[in-house]
Amino acid sequence: MKELALHVLDLVQNSLTAEATEISVIIEEDLEKNVLRLLVQDNGRGMSRELSEKVLDPFVTSRTTRKVGMGLPLLKFAAEQAGGWLQLRSIEGKGTTVETVFQHDHIDRAPLGDMASTLVSMIALNPECRFRYAHFVCQRVFRMDSEQIIDLLGDVPLGHPQVVAWLGDYIRENEKSLEV
């Protein structure tokens, strides 16, 4: 994947497959500690200990676990090649958290990329799921909660073309204001 934002989209797809109704995406950029931390947390069905050990190995995946696929091994590799690590915490029936850490200035760390497109894609296509997003850069933060937007929209669907266009611009502007 060329962008970390694409990995985020991929992780969110896993969460949706696991029937999550609440998904949080948190990005923390700490330039002093030289760390970029990425957290995706869901309340989906979770995984057994056995499965959560398996999904990080691309060559163990069998037909029955095929839905889990290549996504997590790819992200683990992306983290490790950029001086970081990936940790998977899952409780069956409760949910899954994927925490990934990168060395912020590592030459092989993929850029964060287009988070606005990622967020719009996941929010507009999955209005039944509540998404929370927070992006910290040093002392600044941009937060959003899809439920707040749904409340403001009333009976107009989240996927409405005008809403989608507004959402993209709104996130893009706020993400840009975080840039150093």
């Binding site: 095929r66 719009v120 409405h160 073309p161 005008q162 507004w166 502007e173």
Partner: protein, 119 residues
């Protein structure tokens, strides 16, 4: 700067549009968003689709997503399902092709045969 306040205006104009189109048949577009689709550029395809629908004010088109359907090498995949017609699956759909598919197939009901990978 965009603000949440603006959403109220969008809500009002969208409600008016929704009243106009009540009862119309819906065309469905399905974008493959598995790891294979995302790696092949499905997000840009989806973004182009949503942008084109907004520009053309196509409010009777619903966009949904699906996971890996086993044709990873042909991703990004987009299905077009017009009311009363069978599903048509297009392969290697980048942003530009997505816009063409909307113009030719969704709006004018002309299937672009050479891009179809499955019917």
């Amino acid at each position: 700067m965009k603000s949440l306040e603006e959403l109220k205006k969008i809500r009002e104009s969208a409600q008016q549009m929704m009243r106009l189109r009540e009862g119309g048949d819906v065309t469905r577009l399905v974008v493959g968003m598995g790891t294979c689709g995302i790696a092949a550029g499905a997000r840009e395809t989806l973004t182009a689709i949503m942008d084109e629908l907004q520009k053309r004010s196509l409010e009777t088109v619903v966009v949904t997503q699906t996971g890996c359907v086993g044709m990873c090498e042909k991703e990004p995949l987009v299905d077009v399902i017009r009311p009363g017609q069978p599903r048509v699956t297009y392969g290697y759909v980048d942003a530009e092709k997505a816009r063409k598919i909307i113009a030719n197939h969704v709006v004018n009901n002309q299937v672009i045969g050479e891009w179809v990978v499955q019917r």
